[in-house]
Structure formats: structure tokens, C-alpha cells
Chain length 333, copies 2
DNA sequence: TTGTAGGCGTTATCAA
DNA sequence: TTGATAACGCCTACAA
């Protein structure tokens, strides 16, 4: 068994209360006594037990983070952002990922409860009511990426970003711009698709339904989607994927078809993950401040903890995106 | 205040003991009673408090992970590996990163204690005794990447990997192979440098001290190191960086110098992070099973928790690396 | 099959 | 300036 406060107290000839005061700098303690306590604590290698502390203070000093999965650079950027903000406030990060369905989400949620003071949940595919039903009231929860009425959330302006990209491509002279979407069940994907559609309409471009193909945000789905698009009799001159991973998969497909990017097909992505800059040609993308996204979510959670939940429910932020033009469609036409 | 077991018990007309039995499936409970309890628990939205649970069971069901920082793909791969293994065992991951010096390491370590059942620590620069001095005995700790006598660790065979790469380059005909090292304070860096030196000697290559330049594992340091190497009157024909990030920085420098990879200079890295495949030309690298590294460390920690610490102290594993030859030096010479 | 009661390590409220 | 002592929410003998 580990050394407890009681051991230190006994050894130092004081009460646990005094030891507690020393470690929390709460209440007055005689200088001599404090020194003695610190000394014996050091000798005994005493370290306060965080769990017990949490129980009495009713605060864990921990923020839980629930992500869909950890694969891909997008999520690692989110984690970076979250962890940075969390440690800046001297809190801890309890990380959890969910791979399968809603049951697993619920299970993860429940095991997190009581271990965290607040929660950042990124769960684009799953309705917020599922989340709400499995959490005690009063636990600050901030949604990441998927805004739901009545819930605090930090989102990005997917629609505007997608529309801007389409407008950019149109400005380059493209009339047939394809979109590799992220799938019908995903909120981000839907918003990006909406932005694409709006911009296509506004610019009077080809609104051929065949130009929209569904993927699932993975590289391989981007690859498959691009193949389908390249097989079209009336091939698009530009392909805009709903995220960079799919764009990279598409890049591979274009190459395999013996075509060149951007000469034959311009290519654009969404997210601007670090790799986007390293592929050749470098990927034009809609930049998402991913790690600010994570940081903002954490701040929202922590603020909600302090202000009480009422303030938090209203606090929804939408971060802007911006276009990053690189070779993959800079010179295209 | 959240709903507690007591609330459920009162509402269901039973004692807390019975509620506890239901939730832990410990001890017998009448079917009718169990149903009633489950129903009222659901109605009250009761969720067991993990903190309180931890206090009595003396187990937190969480593994702490301490990493140097979260930047770069290497660490996100480690996190993936760790989280996967942790959740497979139905545990939790408490993530913590350390940016600055030893004091911060110590602080992080101490706040982790009492919140975790075991610890995975990746701290290549810092002596293990610092870690040991600040942890209660009996807490399973597995070092990641830096083996220290008497400590459980999961490491990779840095030296063999580096030597193999040099041998490969030598086989391609290179005689002047430069090494961008990772700095004197880093254990991995030292081992890779040792492997480089050994292989250079064994193959009877140019052992010019000017061919070894220190970096610090960042891309920009790789860039700077490569510039210095290219400025040498007798330029190396191959540059082997101690990690991929530095290799990518070097790639940029080579390009900026108007030279071609691999025609003018062959380039190789270490780690085989995902980007390595995407840069152009694709990077030849020593593949490190990064996320297996994380997974193994977690398993070692969890095993140590079960078997008692004695078994763990001996459990050190070294994972092999393998060469991944790609364009950046495949055809070079 | 169910209830009672003590304890886990800490904090916090009173007294002293 | 210090010490008893009652929580905190849960688990677990031990009784009933």
C-alpha cells in the first residue's frame, strides 16, 4: 500500500489536518512544523492521492476527450490542441476513442463520467440526444464539429469553406467540378456538400449529379471515388474532396490513370492537415484551424465549469476557414 | 450534486449494498429487485462515480502516458498504439505531455500519481532516476524508447537499424555518407549515431568527422544541418538523418540548393512516419513499429499491475526495425 | 436474497 | 497554530 497522509502525520507527530494544510497551502501552519512535515513527506516519498482528493473536493481536474478514432492526422491535431489548452490550465486529459457504433459511444461516455469535470466530444455521426441521455446533468459537454441546437459547440464554417473552394476553382475556369463527399451520416460532410452545391449554383456551373460521389473520409474511399469520376464519359476538370485524406487517395487514382495533376485534373481538399503540404503536387485545401478547434473546445468546457452550465449552453463558436492555394490546382485550368 | 447510489437505493426501496451488487454483478440479487433497481437507476440517470469507486477498490483502471511533446507524427502514432491497447483492456488513458525541463517532468509525474494504475513514460532526454525518485514504489512504470538498467522498457533496436541503413547506402556505392544526428542528450540519437559509426567502420567508408552534424529531431534542424553538409567542399553523396522530420528538412535544403534527390544526393531517414511515403521523392527510411511500441508498453504496464512489479522490472523488450527503400535513395549512387 | 456498518485517503468544519 | 471528526460515494465483509 502506498504512503498516505496518515503515515506522514504520525511520523511527523502531527495530525492529518496539518499535513493537509501544508500540501494545500490552506490555513496557517507554523514554519517549523511545515518544514518537519515536508521533510518527513519527502523521506517517506509521500505523494497525495489524487483520487481521494477528487472525492472530497468533487473535482477531478480532468477533462475527458472523446474522439471517433485516432487514425489520421486530423485527430492527432485535435489532441494536440486539446492537450495544450488543458495543461495550460493545469488540468489533465483523459483520452478516449470510439470505433464502432453508438453502444460503444455510450459505454465510453459512462465510464468517463465521474472521472472528469467536463467533456469534449467529437462525434459527427451520432445524435447529441444519445450523448445527453447518458450523461448526468450539470456535466459541461462541448461538442466538437457538430453543432446541435441547445448544445455548446465549437464548429468550423464548413459550408463557407467549401463554397469558397468551389468559387476559387470556378475562377480558374473550371466548369465541371466534382465533389467527393464524406457520406450522408456525417454532419461536416453534409455541410461541405451544401457549400459545394450552393457555390455550383451561384456560379452557374455544371450541376451534374454524377459529379458528386460519396466517400467516407478515408484515403481509400477517395481513391475509389476518383476512379469512378475519371471513368465518366464527360470527365470533371477539377475534383474537390471533402477532406485531405480523400484528396490524397484521389491523387493516387489520377496518377494511376496516367493523368497529371493539375494539368489534366485539378485537385483540392479540406482540412489542410500537415501532409497536404508534402504531397506532390502540394495540395490546395481549405484550411481548418484544427488545433485551435480543440483548444477552444477545452476552454469552453473549463469556462462552463466555472460559470455554471447555463452560460455554457449558449456558448457556441464557429471558427472560420481559409483557402490555401498550392500547386495541385494553382495553375490548373 | 449528481445522483448517487444512495438516491437510487432509497428510490428503489433497497439498500445501497444491493444497488452496488447490481452494478458490479457481485453477489446474488433477486431478478425482480434487479429490474426495479435498473429501472429507477435509468430514470434517475444514475451513473456510478468512478472516483469513489477507485478509492475503495484501489484501482483507477487508467494508464498514464507521459510524452515529451505532442508535435510530430511520431507521437501521434505512439498515442494511437497506446490508446488502442488500453481500450482493448477496457482501461482509460490519461495523457500528459511535457515541454520543458525536468521540473516539469517531475510535476507531471506527481500529478499523475494516484490517478493511474501504471505509467508509460517516454522521456528520452531525462535520466530514469529522476522518474524513480518521484514515484511511489509499486507503481508499474514502463519506459518507452530509453532503456535503463533495472527498469522495464520497450525499445527499438536503433543501432542495428542505423547500421543497416548505412550498409544499404554503401551497397548502392556511396562512400561519403553523412549523418544528421539527433543531439548528444538523446538516447535514441546516440544509439543511431553509434550504429552509423559502426557501419561506416565496417564498410570501410569515409569516416570524416565533418560528415556528422547535430540536429534536434526537428525539421528545421534537419534543414540547417543539410545546408552545412552541402556547403562542404567534399560534399557527401548520401545523407542519413536520425529521423524522418530532419530528413524532410534536409530534402528541402537539397532542393533549395538546386540539387536533385536522389541523383545528386541520396536521402534517408529513420522512423518511417506516415508522411515519409508522401513526400516526393518518397523517403527511404528505417521503419519503426511506432504504434506497436506504444501497445507493447501498455501491455507491459498492465501485466506488471497484475503480476506484481517484480515480474515487470525484468520485462524489457526490444523491437526490431526494418529498412523501407523508396525513391529518395533507391536509384541513387 | 438483502441490509448494516466500517473503511478507502483526503478535505473542511469546528473546537481547542 | 493545531487537532478531532464528519463527510465524499462506493465496496465489502459480516449479519440477518
Amino acid at each position: 500500500m502506498a504512503v498516505t497522509m496518515r503515515d506522514v502525520a504520525r511520523q511527523a507527530g502531527v495530525s492529518v489536518a496539518t499535513v493537509s494544510r501544508v500540501f494545500n497551502e490552506s490555513g496557517p501552519v507554523g514554519e517549523e512544523t511545515r518544514q518537519r512535515i515536508m521533510r518527513t513527506a519527502g523521506a517517506l516519498r509521500y505523494v497525495p492521492n489524487g483520487t481521494a482528493r477528487s472525492l472530497t473536493t468533487n473535482t477531478t481536474e480532468t477533462v475527458g476527450v472523446l474522439l471517433p478514432n485516432l487514425y489520421g492526422e486530423f485527430y492527432s491535431e485535435v489532441i494536440r490542441g486539446v492537450e495544450g489548452a488543458v495543461r495550460a490550465r493545469r488540468y489533465h486529459t483523459l483520452l478516449s476513442s470510439v470505433h464502432d457504433g453508438p453502444e460503444e459511444l455510450v459505454a465510453a461516455l459512462r465510464t468517463l463520467v465521474g472521472r472528469v469535470d467536463g467533456l469534449v466530444v467529437m462525434s459527427p455521426d451520432i445524435a447529441a440526444d444519445v450523448i445527453e441521455a447518458n450523461l448526468p446533468e450539470g456535466l459541461p459537454v462541448v461538442l466538437l464539429g457538430a453543432a446541435v441546437p441547445g448544445h455548446a459547440a465549437v464548429t468550423i464554417d464548413n459550408e463557407a469553406g467549401a463554397a469558397a473552394m468551389v468559387a476559387h476553382l470556378a475562377g480558374l475556369g473550371h466548369r465541371r467540378i466534382a465533389h467527393v463527399a464524406g457520406g450522408p451520416g456525417n454532419a461536416d460532410a453534409q455541410a461541405r456538400l451544401a457549400g459545394y452545391r450552393r457555390a455550383v449554383a451561384e456560379a452557374g456551373l455544371d450541376a451534374d449529379p454524377a459529379l458528386v460521389v460519396d466517400g467516407d473520409f478515408t484515403e481509400s474511399s477517395g481513391h475509389a471515388a476518383a476512379r469512378a469520376l475519371l471513368d465518366l464519359s464527360d470527365r470533371p476538370t477539377a475534383v474537390f474532396a471533402a477532406n485531405d485524406s480523400m484528396a490524397i487517395g484521389a491523387l493516387r487514382a489520377v496518377r494511376e490513370a496516367g493523368l497529371d495533376v493539375p494539368t489534366d485534373v485539378a485537385l483540392a481538399g479540406f482540412d489542410d492537415i500537415p501532409v497536404a503540404e508534402y504531397v506532390t503536387p502540394a495540395l490546395t485545401s481549405v484550411h481548418v484551424p484544427i488545433h485551435e478547434l480543440g483548444a477552444r473546445a477545452v476552454e469552453a468546457v473549463l469556462d462552463a465549469m466555472l460559470d455554471g452550465l447555463d452560460g455554457a449552453a449558449a456558448t457556441s463558436t464557429t471558427l472560420p476557414t481559409r483557402l490555401v492555394v498550392r500547386e495541385s490546382c494553382g495553375a490548373g485550368g
